[in-house]
C-alpha cells in the first residue's frame, strides 16, 4: 500500500470518527438552542451521546419476532456510515470515494430511509405505520430537491464524481441559479434533517415517535445515532456545496473551518425548530411542491440560461 492510498484510508477513518463523535455534539447544540429559546437551561452539550450510550445497555424488546424488525436499525446505521465513508470531506477524496458516484450516494441515503420504513412496517403498531407513511411521503418530495442541489455541480462539471460535483465549481460560477438553490436549500433544511416544522414522521406529541415507537434499547440507539449522523451529513452538505473550501493546504485547518460553519447551520436548525410549529403532512406537501418547482426552475435556468 503506497502512502497516498494509506492517506486515503486514513481519511475514511477520520470521516467516520468525526461524524460518530461530533454528530451527537451538534444534536446537543440544537437541544441547547431550543432550551434557551424557551427560557430553559437545557441539557449538557454531550447529552445526546449519553442518551445513546445509556440506550445501548437497556433491554432490547423485539415486538414482532421477524427478521426485518431486527435488521432495520443495522441497515439504517450502516447506510449512513457508508455515505460518510464515501463523502470527500474538506475537498479530499477518501479511499472509498471512487466506488460511488452521486447517484449511488443518493441511493444509499434513500436506503437509510427505507430501513426506517421497513422497521416500522414490520410491526402491527398503527402509529408506526402512520409515521412510516409520512416519512416516505416526505422522502419522495425531499430527495429530488437534495438531488437538484447537487445537480448544478453535475451540470457545471459534466461529471457525477462526488468530489468533482461538490468541490469542482467555484461558488461564484453558479450565477443566479446558485442563489435560488441556496434559498431552496435553506428552506428545505428542516425537512432534510426531520426537524420542526417537518418532524411530521415522528411527531412525538401526536404519534409518539412514529416509526420508532416499537423500538427500545440498543435498536433505538442505532436509529438515534443514524438520525444524528444523517442530520450532520445534510448540514455539512450545505457547507460543502455552497461554501468554498479554505484550501489552506492543511486538512485540519480546512476541516475545522468547515465544522465551525456546520455548527452555524446547526444554530439555524435549532432556532427554526424552536420557533416553528409542526406542519400537517398535506401542508408540508404543498410547501415541498413549491420548493420542487423552484429548484426545477433553477436547474432549467442553469440549463438554458
Amino acid at each position: 500500500m503506497n502512502p497516498t492510498t494509506e492517506y486515503a484510508w486514513l481519511l475514511v477513518g477520520t470521516n467516520l470518527l468525526l461524524f460518530l463523535i461530533v454528530a451527537p455534539l451538534f444534536e446537543g447544540i440544537v437541544r441547547r438552542v431550543a432550551a434557551r429559546v424557551q427560557s430553559r437551561q437545557g441539557p449538557p452539550l454531550w447529552q445526546p451521546l449519553y442518551d445513546v450510550l445509556k440506550l445501548l445497555g437497556k433491554e432490547n424488546i423485539d415486538a414482532t419476532g421477524i427478521l426485518p424488525f431486527r435488521l432495520a436499525p443495522l441497515v439504517a446505521l450502516a447506510s449512513i456510515l457508508c455515505v460518510v465513508a464515501i463523502l470527500p470531506v474538506a475537498g479530499r477524496a477518501t479511499a472509498l470515494t471512487p466506488y460511488a458516484d452521486t447517484l449511488s450516494v443518493i441511493c444509499l441515503l434513500t436506503l437509510g430511509g427505507v430501513a426506517v420504513l421497513v422497521g416500522a412496517f414490520s410491526g402491527k403498531n398503527i402509529f408506526a405505520l402512520i409515521g412510516a407513511s409520512r416519512e416516505m411521503t416526505t422522502m419522495i418530495m425531499v430527495e429530488p430537491i437534495l438531488f437538484m442541489i447537487l445537480l448544478l455541480g453535475v451540470l457545471k462539471t459534466g461529471s457525477l464524481d462526488l468530489t468533482t460535483v461538490l468541490y469542482g465549481t467555484p461558488a461564484g460560477h453558479y450565477g443566479w441559479a446558485g442563489l435560488v438553490m441556496i434559498v431552496v436549500a435553506l428552506f428545505a433544511l428542516q425537512a432534510f434533517v426531520g426537524r420542526q416544522p417537518f418532524d411530521i414522521a415522528e411527531a412525538e406529541q401526536e404519534i409518539l415517535g412514529g416509526p420508532f415507537i416499537e423500538y427500545s434499547g440498543p435498536n433505538y440507539a442505532l436509529f438515534k445515532y443514524y438520525m444524528m449522523i444523517k442530520q450532520m451529513f445534510y448540514a455539512y452538505l450545505l457547507i460543502a456545496v455552497f461554501v468554498p473550501v479554505l484550501h489552506s493546504g492543511l486538512l485540519g485547518v480546512d476541516l475545522i473551518a468547515q465544522m465551525l460553519l456546520t455548527a452555524v447551520v446547526f444554530l439555524l436548525i435549532g432556532l427554526l425548530a424552536a420557533t416553528h410549529p409542526r406542519f400537517r403532512i398535506d401542508q408540508a406537501l404543498n410547501y415541498f411542491a413549491g420548493l420542487f418547482v423552484l429548484a426545477l426552475g433553477a436547474v432549467a435556468g442553469a440549463l438554458f440560461g
Binding site: 450502516a78 458516484d101 402491527k124 416516505m136 398535506d282
Partner: protein
C-alpha cells in the same frame, strides 16, 4: 448436415405448436398435462436458448433466412438484438411453465378445464419468439402477432366465469388488433413494400418516401408498439385490467416478456428504420418526442401504481412506469445519436445499454413479483392488499424471494434495478447543457424511482409484514409447494446475478449492438473508443469521458461497504450487553381483534395520493384516514 440457428428456431417453434395439439389431450389429468406442457416448453426453451447463446457468443453477423411456405415468403433474421429477447423468452417461459404445474392446482381453478389453457400457452410463447425473429412487418409479423395476441387473449380470459375478466380480455383483444392494424398500415404505406419485404428494404423505402408519409408511418409504428409496451396514455387502457385478470403466471409472462416485444419493435423502428436522409429531417425529433412520452409514462404509471390496493393492479401499473424508463432511454439514445455531438453520442451508448439492461432486469424481477403474488393468492385466496399482511412468518421462502424482487425493482444499491436505472438516469444527466430538457427528464426519473421505492415498501409491507392478524389467527395458510418455489428461487438467483455483475451484462450489450448489422449505432458501438470508455472491474462499471471517470456503479463494492458497516452496527448493538426480550405489540388487549382498527393499504400515503389526484388511476378509499 449443419445445424443452423434457424433449424434450432424452427424446431423450437414446431415443438411448441405440437404441444398445443398434444397436451390438451391430457387436460383431465392436471398435473400430468402441466408437466407435459413444461416438458415441451423446456425443450423449446433449450433450443431457443442455444440459438440465442450461439448468436450472442459467436459475434459473427447473422445471415437472414427466408422461409417459403407455398406462395408466401417469410424473412427471418436472428441478430444479437433478437437473441437477447429470444433468450429472455426462453428463460421466462420455461420457468413459468414449471410454476404453472403447481399454480393451476389452485382451489379456485379446480372447476375450470385446462384444455384451452394448455392449447394457448405454447402458442403464446411461439408467437412471442416469432415477433422477435421475423424480419418483416407484413406476413411473418402478422402470423406471429396474431398467435401471440389470440393465444394470450384466451389465457387472460381463463377465469371466464367472472364477467369483469372477460370484459378486460375482450378489451385487450380489441386494442391489440388496433395496434396490429396500425403497424400493418404503417408498413403498407412505405413505398416499394409488399408482402414479406424485409426490414432493411422497408428502411430504404422510408428513405425515398416524402416527409408527410414518413411521419405518418413513424407515428403509426410508435402507436402500435407503444400500445404493446404500455406507453401513456395507451398502456392505461389495457395493461392493468389484462394483467390483473390473467392467472398470475400468465401476468408474469405478459409483464415479464410480452410487453418487451413492444420495446423490441420501438428500438427496431428507431434504430434500424431511420435511413440517412430522414436523420436530418423529421426523424431527428423522434427521439425527443419518445423521451417525452417516456418520462410522462414513467411518472404517471408509477404514481398510479402507488394508489392501487389490488396487488396485481399495483404491479401492472408499475410495469407501465418501468417501461417508461425504457422508453425514456430509447428516446434519449436516439436523440443523442443524431445530435452529432460526440459527448452526447458516447452517452447514447450508455442509454442504449440501459434500455437492454433495464428490459432484461424488469423481465426477471417483475416476473418474480407476479409469481410471488400468485403464490400469495394460491395460499390465501386473495390479492387485496387491504386484507393481506403478516405472511412473512407463514410463507418465509416466498417472502424471501419477493424481498429480492422488491429490492431489485426499487433500485436499492447492489440489486439489479440500481445499475440499470443508473445507466438510464446518468446518461441523461451527464449531457449537461447540450442535452437540454433531457436533464429535467432525468430529475423526474430520479424522483419517480423514490415513488417506486414507496410502492415497493407498501407492496411488501402490506403482504408480508405489518398487520394481517386474521391470517395468523385463522390458520390454514401454508407455504406453497416446491414446484412453485423452485422457479421463483431460480429467478431470484438470476436477479441477484444481474445486480451484482453489471460488467458482464454491459459488455454483452455492447457486443449485441456492435454486431447487429444495419443499425444507426453499430459503428458507434464497434468503435474501440466506446468500449474503452466503459471500464469494468470486479466491483462494477465506470464511464470515462475525456480521461476522467465521470460516473460509476459499483454494486459489489457498495455491498462490501454495507456489510462491514452493518457488522460494526451489529457489534455496537451488542456492545452494551443489553438483554433481549420478546413482547408482542400492545394493542390494548385486542391482540387478534383489531382488524377494524388497522392501518391498511388504502390509508398508506393518503396525503400523497390526494396530492396526486390529477394523475388519474385513483381508487375509491374505503374509509377516511
Amino acid at each position: 448436415m449443419v445445424f443452423t440457428i434457424y433449424d434450432g428456431l424452427f424446431a423450437g417453434l414446431l415443438l411448441l405448436l405440437a404441444a398445443a395439439f398434444i397436451t390438451p389431450l391430457f387436460a383431465a389429468k392436471r398435473t400430468l398435462a402441466g408437466s407435459l406442457n413444461f416438458a415441451f416448453c423446456l425443450a423449446a426453451g433449450v433450443l431457443f436458448a442455444l440459438v440465442s447463446i450461439a448468436v450472442l457468443s459467436g459475434g459473427a453477423p447473422a445471415e437472414p433466412f427466408v422461409l417459403k411456405v407455398g406462395a408466401l415468403a417469410i424473412p427471418f433474421l436472428i441478430d444479437g438484438f433478437s437473441a437477447v429477447f429470444l433468450g429472455l423468452i426462453a428463460l421466462m417461459s420455461t420457468l413459468t411453465a414449471f410454476y404453472c404445474i403447481g399454480y393451476m392446482e389452485m382451489e379456485h381453478y379446480r372447476h375450470y378445464g385446462l384444455a384451452d389453457f394448455l392449447r394457448s400457452f405454447p402458442v403464446f410463447i411461439a408467437g412471442m419468439a416469432g415477433i422477435v425473429t421475423v424480419d418483416d412487418l407484413s406476413t411473418g409479423f402478422t402470423i406471429a402477432w396474431q398467435m401471440m395476441t389470440v393465444a394470450s387473449f384466451f389465457l387472460i380470459r381463463f377465469d371466464h366465469h367472472d364477467q369483469a375478466i372477460t370484459r378486460s380480455a375482450n378489451k385487450y383483444l380489441l386494442l391489440m388488433e388496433l395496434a396490429w392494424v396500425a403497424i400493418i398500415a404503417a408498413a403498407a404505406l412505405i413505398p416499394h413494400a409488399g408482402l414479406g419485404t424485409p426490414l432493411h428494404a422497408l428502411a430504404e423505402g422510408l428513405g425515398s418516401a416524402d416527409t408527410g408519409l414518413r411521419t405518418l408511418s413513424y407515428g403509426l409504428l410508435l402507436f402500435g408498439f407503444g400500445m404493446k409496451v404500455g406507453m401513456f396514455p395507451l398502456g392505461q387502457l389495457w395493461l392493468p385490467d389484462a394483467h390483473s385478470s390473467a392467472p398470475s403466471p400468465i401476468s408474469a409472462l405478459l409483464s415479464g416478456v410480452m410487453i418487451k416485444t413492444g420495446v423490441y419493435g420501438i428500438v427496431r423502428t428507431l434504430f434500424w428504420m431511420v435511413p440517412e436522409p430522414a436523420q436530418h429531417l423529421e426523424a431527428r425529433h423522434l427521439g425527443l418526442i419518445l423521451a417525452g412520452f417516456g418520462v410522462v409514462t414513467l411518472f404517471i404509471g408509477t404514481v398510479q401504481a402507488l394508489k392501487q390496493n389490488d396487488a396485481k393492479r399495483l404491479l401492472a401499473y408499475s410495469s407501465i412506469g418501468q417501461m417508461g424508463y425504457v422508453l425514456l432511454a430509447i428516446g434519449t439514445a436516439h436523440w443523442f445519436v443524431l445530435s452529432g455531438n460526440p459527448l452526447l453520442q458516447s452517452l447514447a451508448v450508455l442509454a442504449l445499454i440501459g434500455v437492454l439492461y433495464h428490459t432484461t432486469n424488469h423481465a426477471l424481477f417483475k416476473g418474480l413479483l407476479f409469481l410471488s403474488t400468485g403464490s400469495v393468492q394460491y395460499a390465501t385466496g386473495t390479492k387485496d392488499l387491504d386484507q393481506l399482511g403478516g405472511l412473512l412468518k407463514l410463507m418465509p421462502i416466498t417472502a424471501l424471494v419477493a424481498a429480492i424482487a422488491c429490492v431489485s425493482i426499487a433500485g436499492i444499491p447492489a440489486f439489479s434495478g440500481f445499475a440499470s436505472k443508473w445507466a438510464i438516469i446518468a446518461s441523461g444527466l451527464l449531457g449537461g447543457k447540450s442535452a437540454g430538457v433531457i436533464v429535467l427528464f432525468g430529475v423526474i426519473a430520479l424522483m419517480t424511482s423514490t415513488i417506486t421505492l414507496a410502492l415497493t415498501v407498501k407492496f411488501y409491507g402490506m403482504i408480508f409484514t405489518s398487520a394481517g392478524v386474521e391470517w395468523s389467527h385463522k390458520g390454514g395458510v401454508r407455504e406453497v409447494g416446491l414446484v412453485m418455489l423452485l422457479p421463483m428461487a431460480l429467478i431470484a438467483a438470476i436477479c441477484l446475478v444481474q445486480g451484482f455483475f453489471p460488467g458482464f451484462f454491459i459488455e454483452l450489450f455492447v457486443r449485441v449492438f456492435a454486431h447487429s448489422e444495419g443499425s444507426l449505432v453499430q459503428a458507434l458501438f464497434a468503435d474501440p473508443a466506446t468500449q474503452a470508455s466503459l471500464t469494468h472491474s470486479w466491483a462494477g462499471v465506470g464511464l470515462t469521458l475525456g480521461g476522467q471517470p465521470v460516473a460509476f456503479v459499483m454494486p459489489l463494492a457498495l455491498l462490501a461497504m454495507l456489510t462491514v458497516a452493518g457488522l460494526f452496527a451489529a457489534w455496537l448493538r451488542r456492545a452494551g450487553g443489553a438483554e433481549q426480550r420478546q413482547a408482542p405489540v400492545w394493542l390494548c388487549g385486542y391482540q387478534t381483534l383489531n382488524s377494524a382498527n388497522s392501518y391498511t393499504s388504502s390509508h398508506i400515503f393518503a396525503a400523497f395520493k390526494n396530492f396526486m389526484w390529477w394523475t388519474g388511476g385513483n381508487v375509491p378509499r374505503a374509509s377516511k384516514v
